[in-house]
Symmetry: C2
Subunit: 351 residues, 2 copies
């Protein structure tokens, strides 16, 4: 069954463990720790899983919910304190008990935060066929965040040329891509972010029409009115809370809000109250939540669109690379205070 | 131009005036007053308006917003203190300068809270052709609230047979009809209302599967969980605030919320905060505001559906009738404390 060659070799396997649930507040590096275990580089007899070497791990906002106890509603099951955390990543197959995967295949999907993982939920893995782009892109523009931008913008927002588009957390893994999709369609695009560096990136690298630092705006509604004197047609929602309230009073008729995430709320004891929902009626607006796994059947169509854009330089993608599994703790924690500039990736190994 | 007969007759014209803007708090009877003016029962020379005798006036929740100063966002322009208020009503044409209307026609649309009105915005008037139903129905089931229930349920909610439907303010002008539409489609229907009498009406007269008095539920989320152990597919939102928050944690996947109104919020200084919007993502739910004037082109199609239902007794409609223009002040104010049982109508004259 196993495709031989690696045999019974036993190696050290460094792992990132959750120390204890993090209910409120920003997660800290010290909420996790690295430990060293061992791994046999072989799929157990009778298993149809795959044994992979992890290359790139993805830091994503939804992971905050998994640090909470199981009683909290979240996207996925909670992590288990004292066990390795898991997340999306790019990996190389070292041994396979599954007919669809063979040694040497590159995959992306749900894996462990460790050097080597035995993945049994192989149905969630995607095989990587295009390797003439950076492999780390499969944690970002060519992975879940890319698909999120794609379905959130094209499917949920029903965008039209010339519309006024606002994106929060706009320099992040998803936002930077939504903005570039919107520009390619001929929209007017404004993004918010949390530092001058990110604002510059939005305007100069991603080609947004305008961008602003929300931390420097005492009145978010006034800021939006400044950039959207005629109001907002499409809001790609990544942050929630006060920014959402400010958008609600700056909508145009038939505004669409794609609710992708609410990162400003994930670490609060209770989410902030949103007061201006009445405007949904006055503006006949639609607010719609979505989750990308429901759209993965569109992944090939997505690749057909976005791979040429990347190769032709029509879309650029900025990553924030943390080197080494040990650096992943700070990288993941930093996501929730906006420390990262662009998509946060952790390099475990480069092949 | 005028069709003669009424000539230069001058009559007393009682009018309901707004005393002053009502910013916060429930409007009171004393925020309005009745005064007597005079009227010439003739359309002025050169006007293409119509002179009508008002028969039935409609008390509608959106009117609360018109009592606020113009700086507050609302559906329509603010009322003017010291001037008669306006609203939807049923009236009889006494004189007409417009080719589409003639003396004796019955109409419904925007008119004044007074005995006689000169209506110049005739484009908003609907001619009444079916008079074998109570004429007052054109303020309710056959008027704006009926169309609101129709488009809100069928167009915005995309309902399917067997789905779990929850309606707040369910015994009101719109809610009672939404519930009956949902039952006719084969949905499971639960309504909330503010008294035992209304709850009985929902269950015994309108045929809801279940109903509860929200004032007797210390935990609205627990109440909804009791009636919807598997969650809510469709929420027809009339109240906002705490009830919306309770619905958000009781949604099924792909829940649709038609945002029709938020009457619990209209008299507050600041709307309550809604905390559970994150569930829109987790449940991939859609929340959509709508306003019925955008759908008036479907009015004939709506009448074709609902008139037979009424005549066959498949749909019933409960009105709360206030006799006389003077009684309109308390009737309108009472709408915001839920005093009315069913659609609140004011009879000015019966032909």
């Amino acid at each position: 069954m196993a495709s031989g060659g690696v045999g019974e070799e036993v190696l050290r396997n460094k792992q990132v463990m959750l120390r204890d649930y993090v209910i409120n507040g920003f997660p800290k590096e010290s909420d996790m720790y690295v430990t060293a275990n061992t791994v046999k580089l072989k799929v157990p007899e009778g298993s149809n899983g795959v044994l992979v070497k992890n290359l790139y791990l993805s830091c994503d906002p939804y992971m905050r919910g998994r640090m909470k106890p199981p009683t909290y509603a979240s996207y996925l099951d909670s992590f288990t304190p004292g066990s390795p955390i898991s997340g999306l990543g790019v990996a190389k197959v070292l041994d396979s008990g599954h007919p669809n995967f063979k040694r040497g295949d590159l995959i992306w999907g749900l894996t462990g935060w460790e050097e080597y993982s035995l993945i049994t939920a192989t149905e969630s893995l995607f095989k990587i066929h295009n390797t003439d782009v950076p492999l780390s892109y499969y944690t970002g523009i060519l992975g879940m965040p890319g698909m999120t931008a794609y379905v959130g913008f094209y499917e949920v927002c029903s965008p039209k040329k010339g519309e006024y588009v606002f994106i929060s957390a706009a320099s992040g893994a998803v936002g930077q891509l939504v903005g570039q999709f919107a520009k390619l369609l001929g929209c007017y695009v404004v993004g918010s972010a949390g530092s001058k560096e990110k604002v510059d990136l939005l305007k100069n690298t991603f080609g947004f029409d305008e961008a602003f630092n929300y931390k420097e705006e005492p009145d978010l509604s006034a800021a939006l009115k400044r950039y959207f004197p005629e109001g907002i047609d499409i809001y790609f929602e990544n942050v929630g809370g006060k920014m959402l309230d400010a958008v609600l009073v700056n909508m145009r008729i038939n505004c669409r809000i794609a609710v992708c995430g609410m990162i400003s709320q994930y670490s609060l004891e209770q989410p902030e109250g949103v007061h201006n929902l009445m405007n949904l009626i006055l503006k006949q607006a639609r607010m719609e939540g979505f989750m990308v796994p429901n759209y993965y059947h569109k992944y090939p169509e997505f690749l057909n669109l976005v791979l040429p854009y990347i190769k032709e330089g029509k879309i650029v993608y900025v990553e924030d690379i943390a080197e080494g599994l040990e650096s992943g703790l700070a990288a993941l924690a930093g996501l929730f205070t906006g420390r990262n500039v662009g998509k946060q990736v952790v390099v475990v190994a480069r092949e």
